[in-house]
């Protein structure tokens, strides 16, 4: 009689151990995700890069995410990384929509990935591409109230700057930028798979 109960405790304990490991890996990969996206975001200061950096960021983050999925295979973990990114963006002046879209699209992408148990490359790729839609969040505060937004930043940034930049934030251009992010994320997964295979699988790391 004692045996099954011992087994049950061991099972629960090992599950708890696995969860603790998941949370530690979550912290690590969230840190890398945030650092890589911020580093790419810095290039957005160069005027032409402003339209490209989201695509570049989504493309390169695919490696980070794919490496994470080899370690963390539990629903909600990938979404948590995106939500942490959303929190950092909201705190650094991109508005609350950034957090909102991170929650929505992070969960959506995570759900798609979880259908394949985080092991199916196609579903992981699709889920990652869907989650790249979170990048629309920072633009929503401009798109929902363009007149008010530009009027509010004109005093500190200068009217010349506003006149030059405001036309870029039209709905077609922003959708194009976000769509390019999704496509780049989709393609980035191929690169991620190649790199993981070349460097990590062969070395037995993942």
């Amino acid at each position: 009689m004692a045996e099954p109960s011992t087994k049950k405790v061991t099972g629960a304990a090992s599950q708890k151990t696995a969860m603790s490991k998941n949370f530690i890996n979550l912290g690590i990969f969230a840190a890398i995700y945030i650092v890589v996206f911020s580093a790419v975001g810095m290039t957005g200061l160069i005027p032409i890069m402003m339209l490209l950096y989201i695509a570049i960021g989504c493309f390169f983050e695919a490696i980070v995410v794919m490496a994470m999925l080899t370690r963390v295979r539990c629903f909600g973990m990938y979404a948590a990384v995106i939500v942490l990114m959303g929190i950092v963006l909201s705190l650094s002046g991109h508005g609350f929509y950034a957090l909102l879209s991170a929650i929505v699209f992070g969960l959506l992408g995570d759900f798609v990935m979880s259908r394949g148990g985080y092991k199916n490359f196609r579903l992981n790729q699709l889920g990652y591409a869907i989650s790249c839609l979170w990048t629309i969040g920072p633009f929503l505060s401009v798109l929902t109230d363009p007149v008010g937004y530009w009027a509010s930043i004109a005093p500190s940034f200068g009217q010349g700057y506003v006149d030059a930049v405001a036309p870029l934030f039209s709905i077609p251009i922003v959708s194009g930028v976000v769509a390019s992010g999704v496509v780049a994320g989709f393609l980035g997964c191929y690169l991620a798979r190649a790199i993981l295979k070349k460097h990590f699988s062969r070395a037995g790391i993942v």
Binding site: S20, I32, I34, V35, G158
Partner: protein
């Protein structure tokens, strides 16, 4: 021997941190989180009102960073702010804000500067908070253990990423493939691969080592855990939380009225 004079005492469980250990201001992590959150909410709105509010925000963030003992970083940021304000009031009007050069200058100096003080606040939060103190504070807030673990690792890992990156950069230099703008733009994919692969592999390794270390110290233990340091809210913390929330609420009311 002189060292035998003081008997070795085991550290008491649940003691509060002294101000020397927390680095400067004796603020609880909860108070810091509220402070950084409120600052992030208010600063961007306040910047658009007037330049004096922007300067005030910069000064506040720098004072806090100085309280974490990072005087060199504070000096660097002071130079940066002084330079960008100088440029804003001399170079940009000279070039004309409609010209291309003026536009690029205002992008770099005015727009970029807007993102710096909240970044300094996040830096202060990460640099001045001990991991054990943070976990203890989060658990007292009834946060789930998973969240506390993830946040603690996240905080701890930002400095590690930058250390790793420095090491990778010097290794790349040694191999004759230095990380320069020229290399980055001529071979972006290859350069990125050279950076990210060592970073990922060392991070994966650190991840498993950290898990082992944490589990050895009882992370998987199911009952109530004790902590070496105990997070306590004191008068200064309540004052800090009160001021942060008060200013945010007043600001929101004033803005929407």
């Amino acid at each position: 021997m002189a060292c035998s004079a003081e008997p070795v005492r085991a550290p008491a469980l649940g003691r509060a941190l002294s101000s020397r250990e927390t680095g400067g201001f004796l603020l609880d992590p909860r108070a810091k989180l509220v402070l950084v959150f409120c600052f992030g909410m208010v600063y961007y709105e306040a910047v658009d009102i007037g330049i004096w509010l922007e300067v005030l925000g910069c000064a506040c963030s720098l004072v806090l960073l100085a309280s974490a003992g990072r005087l060199r970083a504070v000096g660097g940021f002071c130079c940066f702010f002084a330079f960008t304000y100088l440029m804003q009031f001399t170079a940009i009007p000279l070039l004309g804000s409609e010209s291309m050069a003026g536009l690029v200058f205002s992008m770099i100096f005015v727009v970029f500067r807007k993102f710096v003080p909240p970044f300094i606040m996040l830096m202060y939060l990460v640099l001045s908070t001990q991991t054990a103190h943070l976990i203890s504070a989060l658990l007292k807030m009834r946060a789930p253990l998973g969240l506390a673990t993830a946040l603690a690792v996240l905080f701890r890992f930002f400095p590690t990423v930058s250390e790793q990156f420095q090491a990778i950069r010097s290794a790349m230099k040694l191999k004759g493939i230095p990380l320069t703008f020229r290399n980055f733009f001529s071979h972006p994919l290859r350069t990125f691969e050279y950076c990210i692969v060592p970073l990922m592999s060392s991070s994966l390794k650190i991840g498993s080592e950290l898990s082992c270390a944490a589990l050895c110290r009882g992370l998987g233990y199911r009952d109530h855990k004790t902590s070496l340091v105990e997070a306590k809210l004191r008068a200064a913390d309540y004052l800090c939380i009160g001021i942060s929330i008060g200013i945010s609420v007043l600001f929101m009311i004033w803005k929407h009225a």
